[in-house]
């Protein structure tokens, strides 16, 4: 067997007060793709950074063996590490908008790697940059090289970031959440690009929170939780026959089409021919839909498709240029993607709920009792009452947001990307909570998301938006199994971890939820 590009055994990384990584071992061979999967705080990124000696001054790193191309790196000084970084190991971070220096043209960023390692004479740099951009599939490379990150689309930016990482032809490319901030179709493109690199013999270390993303690419998968590798094995085995309960729960948490049986009530929202233009750009262009009590209408689309503008029009936060919305706004509440920013930072949970109850007309003496009741409804303990949202976990915050939305006893809740910011397991819990509440209280949801799986899981009807227009709408199963519009087909094809097969939903690369029991229950507190 060939020498691994990197090899580490029994890696421990600790920061003052926290043991971030405990006893991780991994090796990446040329042409191999190893994926490390885990939720936030699992230690996967720290593991990746320790392979570059970039854990920071405060970290204490120990390892049984730490070797780069067979050379012991455990005693490397800063100077030796620098010669490894970018030349032997390239590193790609998520979200190129912030991972590329916003104040420099992308061409300079790419050339920087070459310059630092003196990999090319100065006069050859512009040519090499263009070659690299071409290699990662950037059209018009000469033009793009002179542009700034904010002038490029998300996909091109991510390609440029990859180009800067592979500029010196590193033996190993570490990709840390390379597609997380991207739209699903772009994500598919980037994954294809990485697959090409792998076919070209590049060793890949893929870091992700999303099993689905790594499913196609990885030869070997490590699942991490709380700094420990809980499962390690060939991809097929980890995905097909997971041994550890946590791996199973991760797989189970991947949203699957639900088998919904809801009874449509009267119409609670009727939008007709909505048009909204911002400074000459049409954000929403003739969107019409209807939502009935007790049902969920999913609105899907990529960024810039007009999802959020539609929601704001429905809520009356914006006035439509044309068209109309019939809705009883007193009976409508909202849940946002980022619950934290939707809370006044000075307010405790009690005051947040108190205010909502006040709006709903609950008399002062009853509010405390109602607040505790609401918290119970969303699976929280009354001990959170006096805490500030800042001190709560992401899942708890979204539960508080749901409790707040429930306080005035609404009939409709507009959910704007309510689970996008959450880890997969938490995401599943919140979705379950929402569907449970719907059944219990007969709520109607206008559910906005870019995530097709999530929408498929919770919706009765779907509205697919592209560039402000509704390209397709109708029954959820109808659309997900037999999409009529090419764009809808493209979207579905781009979903990682397997294709939505138009004919046979059972032929998926990943096991569906039917095969696994739900292991995760809503947590309390």
């Amino acid at each position: 067997m060939s020498t691994p590009v990197v090899e580490v055994t029994d890696l421990h990384v600790s920061f003052p007060g926290v043991a971030a990584v405990r006893g991780v071992s991994l090796a990446v061979h040329p042409g191999e793709c190893v994926a490390v999967v885990g939720e936030s705080g699992s230690g996967k990124s720290v593991t990746a950074r320790s392979l570059l000696g970039l854990t920071g001054e405060e970290a204490t790193v120990t390892a049984g063996r730490l070797a780069v191309e067979g050379v012991d790196a455990s005693r490397f000084g800063e100077r030796q590490w620098r010669s490894i970084r970018g030349r032997t190991i390239g590193y790609v971070l998520q979200d190129a908008l912030v991972s590329l220096d916003a104040l420099r043209p992308v061409g300079k960023e790419i050339a920087e790697t070459l310059k630092l390692h003196r990999a090319a004479p100065r006069h050859e740099l512009p040519g090499r940059v263009i070659d690299l951009l071409t290699e990662v599939g950037v059209p018009e490379p000469a033009v793009r090289a002179r542009q700034y990150p904010h002038e490029l689309s998300g996909g091109l930016r991510q390609r440029a970031l990859i180009a800067s990482a592979i500029a010196c032809g590193p033996r190993l490319l570490i990709a840390d959440e390379p597609t997380t901030a991207l739209d699903v179709t772009v994500q598919a493109q980037i994954l294809r690009l990485l697959a090409e690199r792998k076919r070209a013999g590049q060793a890949l270390l893929l870091i992700s929170h999303d099993l689905a993303v790594v499913a196609e690419l990885a030869d070997r998968i490590l699942v991490m939780k709380d700094g420990v590798v809980v499962e390690d094995g060939p991809a097929r085995q980890v995905l097909g026959a997971p041994e550890h309960a946590y791996t199973k729960s991760l797989l189970a948490a991947i949203p699957r089409p639900g088998s919904r049986t809801t009874v449509p009530g009267d119409v609670v929202i009727r939008a007709e021919g909505l048009v909204k233009t911002f400074k000459g750009r049409t954000a929403v262009d003739g969107v019409s839909f209807e939502l009935r009590a007790g049902q969920t209408l999913g609105v899907v689309g990529e960024s810039g498709s007009g999802k959020t503008t539609t929601a704001r029009l429905v809520l009356g936060l914006l006035r439509p240029d044309r068209g109309s919305v019939e809705i009883d706004r007193r009976q409508t509440q909202v849940i946002y993607q980022d619950p934290l920013s939707s809370f006044d930072p000075r307010f405790s949970v009690r005051r947040v709920l108190d205010e909502a109850l006040e709006v709903g007309g609950t008399p002062r003496p009853e509010r405390r009792r109602r607040a505790v009741e609401l918290l119970e409804q969303v699976g929280l303990d009354e001990s959170v009452l006096d805490r500030r949202p800042l001190k709560l976990s992401g899942g708890q915050r979204q539960r508080v947001a749901i409790a707040r939305a429930l306080a005035p006893r609404p009939r409709v809740i507009v959910c704007d990307e309510p689970v996008s910011a959450l880890d997969v397991s938490i995401q599943a819990q919140v979705l379950d909570l929402l569907t449970g509440l719907q059944a219990e209280l007969g709520l109607a949801y206008l559910f906005i998301s870019h995530h097709l799986g999530v929408v498929h899981h919770v919706s009765d009807h779907v509205l697919v938006l592209k560039d402000g227009r509704a390209v397709e709408s109708g029954d959820v199963h109808q659309i997900f199994t037999a999409p009529a519009d090419p764009y809808t087909r493209e979207l579905l094809a781009a979903v990682p971890g397997g294709h939505y097969d138009q004919t046979d939903p059972s032929r998926r690369a990943l096991p569906g939820r039917e095969q696994h029991d739900r292991l995760v229950r809503p947590q309390v507190g």
């Binding site: 936060l317 007193r330 409508t332 909202v334 946002y336 980022d338 809370f343 006044d344 205010e355 709006v359």
Partner: protein
Amino acid sequence: MAFLALITLAALAPSLLTGGVTPDAADALAALQGPSADHLLGTDANGRDVFARIVYGAAPSLLAGLGATALAVVVGTALGLLAALGGRVVDEIVTRLIEIVLSLPTLLLALLVITVTGPGTVNVIFAIALYTAPGYARLVRAQTMVIRNAGFVEAAVSLGLGRGRIITRHVLPNAFEPLAVLATIEVGTALVAAASLSYLGLGPQPPAPEWGAMLSAGRDYFSVAWWIAVFPGVAITLTVLSVTVVGRRLQRRIA
């Protein structure tokens, strides 16, 4: 912190600290004596006890810093809110007004104010407030505009809260927090500014034991009686230092 407590005590009940020595007991026979058991920090050219004067000077000195800052905060907040919430025209007028005041150098502005109103503590407060207020106004305006678009304000709107309640319950308190931090830090700056005005002969009138005036008067005696100027200087520096440290802590707690 302990120093702040001491200063507060000095400002509120100076006689407790000096044991009955008064700040204006001039005694030409005891002039310019160095620090000793009788006069802890020495005496000035009039034979007055420097320690007593520093202690009694705490109130007027702090008054200048606090008063100017308070006035500036009030005026600045009012203007900032007016600009942010009063509509385009009002915003434009207030913004220009702020720019006009900012376009005059601080000291010239103070000179103008004091030429118009005459020297004295109250006028110094007024002068310093005038040139610090635009800073607060800008901050409040910017802050209010940010908060107006913050998620929690939108959440409050969708919740169905009225405009007035949103402003008083959400916008104002949140806009005020960074302002409070800036203000604490600026108290020190105002103190230093008051001292500088005293140096130019525009500060409080004798025999008021104001630190800036003492520092300024003491420089004439620096080579023969360093204590007259050094101790008020130390008092100013320590006060500014402790006020700023408190401000910084406040800032960290909020951030």
